[in-house]
Amino acid sequence: MAEFKVDTRLDHHQLLLEAIIRPAVLIDYSNSQWELLLRVARRAKLLGYLAAWLEKDGLLDKIPQRAVNLLRSSLIQVKKQQQSVNWELSRILWALDGREILIIVLKGMAYQLQDLPNAAGRIFADLDLLVSKEALGQIESVLSEKGWQHHALTNYDERYYREWSHEIPALVHPERGVEVDVHHTLSSPLGNLKIDPLPFQEAAIKVEDEGVYVLSPEDMLLHCAVNLFQNNELADDLRHLLDFHEILQFFSQQQLSFQEKLINRANRLGLGRPLFYSLYFSRLLLHSSVPDQLKKRLNHQPGWLALRIMHNCVPLALLPQHPDQPSKRAELARLLLYLRSHWLRMPLYRLLPHLIYKFYLSVFPGKSARARRNG
């Protein structure tokens, strides 16, 4: 069957990127541009982000009413989620009260605790925490005692988490349903990039009045970079590159020579490669201001060919597909990056059986439920 026809005058990537870089352009968007932007931004999970910017700049009464309705709907949902995750953190701290466990809050909740510019309108449904490996057992048993539970897992998934992953299976309190991901390091222990969590924990910063810690600004960006270019598959991940861009801009304006410190930190921790890619693509797509000579000081830069391939593939994966006309090129790019991310995380003898198992489940989803019941 042939594809449904699409108006090719509308470039969906351009519409989205311009809206993100300069939300003020949105007051000039035509209705048909809005219609496509709303669909693309929803897919990129950036509707709430756009809504928050428009609200902050007082532009919501200058755009079409139907767009306002969808943007506001999204923002209301996001605020509710933020509130839920915030409450979950408070419940965790209540459950662990009196135990000397250093808890570092990661990702969405950390951005919110510090009121970073990317936090407004940002969708996040999970609470991510980093603790020392020694404290894992204690946390898991205390939380289980107080009612948190693991999702039912197959034996395979249980083993995957326990032996090969940097986090334990998600904990959920059945009354609230918010997933709590407890990490003991920042990347898979099987991966090619060995990350020692200790320097991150030592540099962590205490959040006033909260009794928890967040990563230092440099480490927060490095974690973001590692998630993008080491842990994840990059598909529809523009919002995480946007996190990187916003946090980078924010601290670059606040602290003199912040970017220098960032580069030095990355070199010291051996994270030059993911930081290089993050800087490269946030400059390419989001126009982050990063001087050229700065990037050159990074260790572990990719070679010419690798960069060439990444340059062609990464934007196609990060940016959302057209909702009516998915491009085959983007699908191929996404497949390559999917394989790359697994390649980075697992040695081949583990990777191949894992991918075969995943493929089998995608064809026979019922089998996983059965395995769970029997397992």
């Binding site: 809005w34 669909r39 509710k80």
Partner: protein, 302 residues
């Protein structure tokens, strides 16, 4: 321009091409499909809907497309998609219309938070809205189908759409899925009702849709203030009872069955409080339509 003014061929061209863009209550909906059976059904069932104004934003984009399955290579399956993603597993091609209608309801419930969405039927009489919230065994679809053929204007059999700040309710007249025994009951009681095909084997059993009356669809832009809240319950052989219900109880019943009460938080709490304070709240137990109609007529007179 209305769907009924399109020939079947013109409709097919739209559905198979850029999409049929129709006005659906306060929203616009775009539907794409090439399934001949579904195109025929929509030609009849969507006849009264207006096409969305040229160049207006359409909020929801859905498609029904054929789907191949490795596990069932010879089954004729279809897939419902919204913005290219499918919230349901594939179903047989016979269930296309039911899946489309449920899918659109699901998208509305998932995405809309600028309005408070009650899980409730709503009709209008004498300029004010009568809410008929769902609770188990309420038969709100059947009851509102009956009322809309007896002088009440249908707002919706599924959604009470309320603007939380001003309290207005908005019509969203969509196809109404009658289930199992209610299909025969309505065929007998309302021979004039326009019903779609009977679709067996859905998750909710056999389903047949009623088309909302033309007037309900034409007056879709006329919002109204609520005045009565009646919690209906159909009980076989029961004598008619229409009793007043304490506001506190009405509040709890309404709040717990709204789709997005939790998401709206304080806004929803304030809105529901004002709603129950401004309305007459009743509980209705009935077994036959004529006496239920008489009781509701009396309640909503003048």
């Amino acid at each position: 321009m209305k769907v009924e003014q399109l020939s079947l061929d013109e409709l097919r061209v739209l559905l198979a091409g850029q999409g049929l863009r129709v006005k659906m209550g306060p929203f616009n909906l775009s539907v794409q499909t090439r399934l001949p059976s579904l195109i025929h059904q929509l030609h009849q069932m969507y006849a009264h809907y207006s096409l969305a104004d040229e160049d207006e934003i359409v909020e929801f984009h859905v498609r029904v497309i054929p789907k191949r399955s490795i596990r069932q290579p010879f089954a004729r399956l279809i897939r419902f998609e919204v913005d290219g993603r499918s919230p349901f597993p594939p179903v047989s091609v016979e269930q296309a219309l039911a899946t489309l209608e449920w899918g659109v309801n699901l998208v509305i419930a998932m995405r809309i938070n600028h309005l408070l969405l009650f899980h409730s039927a709503a009709v209008e009489r004498n300029g004010h809205v009568l809410l008929l919230p769902a609770w188990p065994g309420s038969g709100k679809t059947t009851l509102s189908a009956m009322l809309m053929h007896r002088g009440y204007r249908l707002f919706s059999d599924e959604f009470g759409l309320m603007a939380p700040e001003i309290g207005d309710f908005f019509p969203l007249p969509r196809l109404m899925p009658l289930k199992n025994q209610s299909i025969k009951i309505i065929r007998d009681y309302l021979p004039e009702a326009i019903l779609g095909p009977e679709i067996p084997g859905t998750l909710k059993g056999t389903v047949a849709h009623i088309r909302p009356p033309q007037e309900s669809i034409e007056r879709v832009d006329e919002a109204a203030q609520p005045r009565w809240i009646v919690f209906p319950k159909w009980v076989a052989g029961a004598a008619l009872r229409l009793e007043s219900l304490p506001q506190s109880e009405a509040f709890l019943l309404l709040a717990t069955n709204a789709f997005n009460y939790e998401v709206l938080g304080e806004t929803a709490f304030d809105a529901v409080t004002r709603l129950v304070r401004s309305c007459e709240c009743r509980k209705l137990v009935y077994s036959d339509f004529d006496s239920a109609l008489a009781a509701l007529d009396e309640l909503t007179d003048g």
